[in-house]
């Protein structure tokens, strides 16, 4: 019994270590003063006001949403199509395709960033929004493929046969039977792709144009270049946005989507 108690205490301690730093930002963001201490000298919403009236931050938020939205769309479509092909077709070199798909996930971001930086400079894609979306899609799309493949693994091929035996042509069978059943997987992959792009920093640092600040890049600049306490308010809002994505992902997982 003491062993279990010790285990529980150790786990609780580690969980505290995981959560406390993130939660500590919340009161700091509500501080009335410039100096960040706990508890704050006074409470105010001044940093939130500063954040919401700052064109820099608003532009960064807009850029992040545009890039993550476009990435999600592109990765969602390409990833879902590819997962369908990989699942239903007997492709030669399936293993090689899956390995190529996993490569961007295990390759250090800085290496991918360096490679794309050189390639985009030569191809004239450096500093373009399109190039940035392509790069984000490369690192997000594996999650879509994985999630859709996972939901297809639970798909009973007899259902397709049943649909056809009941008079459904292949296109109708796909639309009425396959698509609704893998929808949670597609959505889960899309949520993960959105979060990946929304969080992405290193590729953005090297591939985005000088004016194309996303939220992570703006936070980095605000922490590293000129300390700006507004960053705490931004971090809290970004944290809340991540929690929305987490909720969406968990809800989808309970509906049979999700990764793992």
């Amino acid at each position: 019994m003491t062993a279990r108690l010790l285990l529980g205490l150790a786990a609780a301690g580690v969980l505290l270590f995981l959560l406390a730093p993130i939660l500590a930002i919340l009161p700091l963001s509500l501080s009335a003063g410039e100096i960040l201490r706990l508890p704050p000298e006074g409470w105010s919403l001044r940093w939130y006001a500063a954040l919401l009236s700052s064109e820099r931050w608003l532009l960064a938020a807009r850029n992040s949403l545009v890039v993550a939205g476009a990435t999600t769309l592109l990765a969602g479509v390409l990833g879902t199509l590819a997962a369908l092909g990989l699942h239903f077709g007997r492709l030669p070199g399936r293993g090689a395709i899956l390995a190529l798909l996993a490569a961007p996930v295990v390759t250090p971001s800085i290496v991918t960033a360096a490679a794309l930086f050189l390639a985009y400079s030569a191809a004239g894609l450096a500093g373009t929004l399109f190039g940035l979306v392509l790069a984000h899609t490369v690192i997000s799309v594996p999650f879509v493929v994985l999630a859709v493949l996972a939901s297809l693994r639970g798909f009973d091929p007899a259902l397709l046969r049943a649909a056809e035996s009941l008079g459904a042509p292949p296109a109708a069978a796909f639309r009425r039977v396959v698509l609704p059943l893998i929808a949670p997987g597609v959505a889960a992959g899309a949520v993960f792709a959105f979060a990946t792009s929304f969080d992405e920093f290193i590729l953005t640092l090297f591939l985005a144009g000088p004016g194309q600040f996303t939220l992570p890049r703006q936070i980095y600049a605000a922490v590293r270049d000129v300390w700006d306490p507004t960053v705490c308010a931004a971090a809290v809002l970004l944290f809340l946005a991540s929690m929305l994505l987490l909720l969406a992902s968990e809800a989808l997982r309970r509906r049979g989507g999700g990764i793992g």
């Binding site: 786990a11 959560l19 730093p21 700091l28 199509l81 077709g89 295990v106 290496v111 360096a114 922490v223």
Partner: protein, 390 residues
């Protein structure tokens, strides 16, 4: 079946194109950049041709001097000299100035180029410089890869160590490996009790506990690193708490220390260790420890003989993932670390943007990729099934 195969291929094709064009080819091209040596033959094509034909003994033929003077002058006039000057200066500091001076004087070197070049700067009369130019005539060079491990091609042609004050990369790689290993070890040790405790809970409670792990996992890395940046300030909450508890009298400088880097990296990467360990432990048959107990195993024996071996694949998979991510880390050392805590990734970034030297950036990337690749292969060899997605 045939038609199905073609349709399936067409479905996969768009993604395949994206991955090849926007990942595989760029990475391949960058790896080539690590050994490519195009500057001299691009900027001084005739000189390069003569030097390639030269046997390397004594001084090159007269025409090499003539071509050099003419092509340097032309390159300067067209503002094309930069890449070559940078390339040669990287191999031997001081050559940029020599090239510029020679190029500016190109007009006066048309007659008797050999004598006048040597008169302009006696280094043009040294075989060593000409051999260096010959080795730079391409198409490939080991310069960057050697420099990435603190070696260089000596004037005599052999490989030798660089001067002590320039030898930074071995230290850098060792430091990167050390930080990654330390972070991995800490993550594994901290992850184990969390995973074990969650796996021991009933499914419903464990799902809630897991959310506590998923919250940091989904929170932006920048947000988490910013949190550490704030916590570790001299006037920040951590110092204040330590003083209030009487642990220290004066606030400590925490930002810019190795401690800050390791703490923040462990915080960021810990969920990657917890989640696979938990997944494996959850699937363990609870009857197995009971069976061990019925066979006379005490708590310690049950842990070391049953629980640990059975949960090892998950723990090791998590550890491998943490190591792979840690070894290429950039953000956290950049924000909370000092100059002595920077890892390989920071130097790649440095050579990409601050002092553009694509050859070095590529060479360091190649070595970093080799390190992660070796780690991934080792993990796969140690853990059958690692990398195979469920």
């Amino acid at each position: 079946m045939r038609r199905g195969g073609i349709a399936a291929f067409l479905l996969v094709l768009p993604l395949l194109l994206l991955l090849v064009l926007s990942f595989a080819l760029p990475v391949g091209r960058m790896l080539w950049t690590a050994v490519a040596d195009p500057e001299l033959s691009d900027t001084l094509p005739d000189t390069a041709a003569v030097l390639r034909a030269w046997n390397g003994e004594g001084l090159p033929p007269e025409e090499a001097f003539a071509h050099l003077a003419r092509e340097l002058g032309a390159a300067l006039a067209d503002r094309r000299l930069g890449p070559l000057a940078q390339r040669l200066n990287f191999e031997q500091p001081g050559l940029r100035a020599l090239l510029l001076r020679t190029a500016r004087a190109a007009g006066e070197l048309r007659e008797a180029p050999r004598e006048r070049l040597i008169a302009l700067d006696p280094r043009w009369g040294e075989a060593e410089l000409w051999r260096l130019l010959r080795s730079a005539a391409g198409p490939v060079t080991a310069l960057y890869l050697l420099r990435a491990v603190d070696l260089r091609l000596g004037p005599a042609g052999g490989i030798e160590a660089v001067a002590e004050e320039e030898a930074i990369y071995r230290t850098l790689f060792l430091r990167t490996l050390w930080i990654a290993a330390l972070v991995t070890a800490l993550c594994v040790v901290l992850a184990y009790p969390v995973a074990a405790a969650l796996a021991a809970l009933p499914q419903r409670l464990a799902a809630w506990g897991l959310v506590l792990v998923l919250v940091p996992f989904w929170t932006s890395v920048l947000v988490r690193t910013t949190a550490w940046f704030v916590l570790l300030q001299r006037e920040g909450p951590l110092n204040a708490a330590a003083i209030a508890l009487g642990l220290i009298e004066h606030p400590l400088q925490l930002i810019g220390t190795r401690f800050a880097v390791v703490a923040a990296m462990v915080h960021v990467l810990l969920p990657f260790a917890i989640l696979p360990a938990y997944a494996v432990m959850r699937r363990l048959d609870p009857a197995l420890p009971r069976a061990a107990a019925s066979l006379g195993a005490g708590a310690v024996a049950r842990f070391f003989r049953v629980h640990l071996p059975l949960s090892f694949p998950g723990v090791a998979a998590g550890g491998a993932m943490v190591f792979l991510l840690a070894v290429g880390y950039y953000i956290t050392p950049a924000l909370v670390g000092g100059p002595r805590d920077q890892m390989v990734a920071s130097f790649i970034a440095f050579f990409l943007s601050q002092t553009p030297n694509w050859g070095m950036a590529a060479a360091l990337s190649l070595l970093l990729l080799a390190m992660t690749g070796a780690a991934a292969l080792a993990a796969r060899a140690l853990l059958p099934g690692f990398g195979r997605r469920e």
